[in-house]
């Protein structure tokens, strides 16, 4: 440390930068530099990057809006998903296949008479004189629930199975992966249809209220997801763990003397997290698709409970005259699936350091 705080003077002919124009950093300024480069956790860092991705943010907003609507709407909208619209306590048979935001003749008469405003039919009504908006809301509820639960089921079974197989290696891995191969080779749609036929008989005999309200088909969808759909996840996780295990930083951690528990916690799990996150995020739309397809072919939820697929199926009959009835559930499915896919992509970009620019 020098006593003088001034920089050397510039020689007249020197081409160097004139140092006397510069000041030495004070201790305070140095400390500020320290504070500015504060460390961020891996999670916070990833979230910050996710929030910079416009597509991911847009899909988060869409998903929040959809989830908000389906939680709030049933409390706000005065119609039930299985009730025919009633005017003044009487069933309104004229409220059939209404256009969005239109009222039926009886409703208009009633409003003229009493002067009070009835809640509008935001998406019109269906051929059974039911409010279509609330049906789409309930359908979305069912579809999202199926998607989420099926993905969680797949996540738990797939990650456990895959990681055991990956860690253990050798003969255990061999046997476990051959089982996966066998399950992979089963035609899943056929199994779902067969299972739901068999389970329908078995389950309709039970008096369990939960199963009754869900419908036996719904339960069989969950069982099929639990039985069949985890294999993709298990394979991915196993492959990822095998890849990570062969990296030299695992060897380095062992050379340091880190116990296996620590190696798994701080090296293996964080490194396969991005694969797990993206696969789960992409599993949700795929489960929603499967559920919609099954409901569309009539193997899904039990009427009168709607799902997006069964709504689309019902709309098929009046497609020529009332195309809007197909458009609403279809657009909802598209929005949900697209949002989850884009969100999954955004998550991968944010949480995978290798993909960062």
């Amino acid at each position: 440390m020098t006593e003088t705080n001034t920089m050397p003077k510039k020689k007249a002919l020197s081409l160097q930068v004139d140092l006397s124009k510069f000041e030495k950093a004070t201790d305070e300024e140095k400390r500020q530099q320290d504070v500015m480069s504060k460390s961020t956790t891996f999670f916070r860092d990833g979230m910050r990057k996710l929030m910079k991705n416009p597509l991911a943010v847009a899909s988060i907003i869409v998903l929040v809006l959809i989830i908000g609507t389906i939680t709030v709407a049933p409390a706000v909208v005065p119609y039930g998903y299985q009730d025919i619209i009633k005017v003044d306590g009487k069933r309104d048979k004229t409220a059939k296949n209404l256009e969005p935001f239109k009222y039926s003749k009886k409703e208009m008469k009633y409003m003229e008479k009493t002067g009070e405003k009835l809640f509008p039919h935001i998406m019109g009504t269906d051929s059974m004189c039911r409010d279509y908006f609330i049906r789409v809301v309930y359908g979305t509820r069912i579809s999202l629930t199926v998607g989420l639960f099926a993905s969680i089921l797949v996540l738990i079974i797939g990650v456990l199975y895959g990681s055991i197989s990956g860690y253990a290696g050798g003969i255990v891995d061999l046997i476990m992966m051959r089982i996966v191969d066998i399950i992979y080779s089963l035609p899943d749609m056929l199994i779902i249809i067969l299972l739901s036929v068999v389970l329908n008989e078995r389950l309709s005999a039970t008096q369990n209220p939960v199963i009754k309200s869900l419908g036996t088909n719904m339960v069989s969808i969950f069982i099929v997801f639990g039985l069949l759909y985890w294999v993709g996840m298990a394979r991915l996780v196993r492959g990822e763990i095998l890849k990570i295990k062969s990296n030299e930083y695992i060897l380095a951690a062992r050379a340091i003397g880190a116990p296996s528990g620590k190696i798994i916690r701080s090296h293996i799990i964080p490194n396969c997290l991005s694969v797990i996150i993206i696969t789960t995020a992409l599993q949700i739309p795929s489960a929603i698709f499967t559920e919609s397809f099954l409901s569309f072919v009539g193997m899904g939820v039990k009427a009168p409970m709607p799902s997006l697929g069964s709504l689309a199926n019902a709309a098929r009959e009046g497609l020529q005259s009332y195309p809007m009835q197909l458009v609403f559930p279809a657009v909802t499915i598209i929005l949900i699936v697209l949002a989850f896919n884009l969100l999954g992509d955004g998550l991968r970009d944010a949480f995978d350091p290798k993909l960062r620019r």
């Binding site: 530099q33 320290d34 480069s37 504060k38 460390s39 961020t40 891996f42 990296n247 030299e248 930083y249 060897l251 380095a252 951690a253 062992r254 050379a255 340091i256 003397g257 880190a258 116990p259 620590k262 701080s266 090296h267 964080p270 490194n271 350091p353 290798k354 960062r356």
Partner: protein, 326 residues
Amino acid sequence: MSNETNGKSGYLVEVEDLKQHFPIRTGFTKTTLLKAVDGVSFKIRPGETLGLVGESGCGKTTVGRTLLRLYEPTDGRIFFEGNEVTKSNMREYRKEMQMVFQDPYSSLDPRMTVEDIIGEPLDVHKLYSTKSERRDKILGLMSLVGLNAEHATRYVHEFSGGQRQRIGIARALAVDPKFIVCDEPVSALDVSIQAQVVNMFEDLQKQLGVAYLFIAHDLLIVHHISDKIAVMYLGRMVEMADADELMDNPMHPYTQSLLSAVPIPDPETARKQKRIILEGDVPSPLNMPSGCAFRTRCRYATERCSAECPPFTDRGNGHMVACWEK
């Protein structure tokens, strides 16, 4: 050669007849032993560097990894400061023996910040009492290897190869080891960076007094940094001598051909130099030739070479050679 009583022999690391055989599936039910390392012995004094050279696949890396018991050795004994290192007491020696890896891209966890990577050995061995002590130690190590303090919170993908290798070296130094296995630490780097890193290894040795087992295939770098050089061929040592002695007076025909392949920066001398070109390929380690492993490519090979494996004998001044004819 030596026994347990050499505790005061002054050697830091002693390796006796180290063997590492891997079972390899060669058929549907058949397995063959791959003799990656087949009876290697050497000794390293504190603060000394032993260079280990040989072509790809000759077992250099396996020697280094088996030495740290990252692989369980098939046979042979390892002594550290005269005490035998076994499977059960290896954990305490992890603080004394460390490793720098070849590939600076895969040897650092991409999910961790530099601070956490260097701090990992400190965490594992609980070498600090407070958070600030941990940070101070990490920053000290970073300045030791020439990294700036603001690099601490960055992820490794933001660094160049040379900087990554510095991070790897800082991690190895974190536990204050007496011995570091350097597994081709510069072969993945640019030539200009190689010199920097090699010089840093030398400076660190002067500062901290660590001993190195320096594995490489670049003879000039090994000559520059090593006190002694050992040459391996197909899992066995063929020659070991002081660095200058080996370079000036190579005895084993394999070492001679290796040295003749070293490029000479002076064209005049290079023209006079006769290159010894080996014929044929390296035999498969799954199907090793009988006797001396080098005999299939050796100019001097006789019947004796195929009948019996030559012993590793001292030819004066600690110049050890395994050859019948030389």
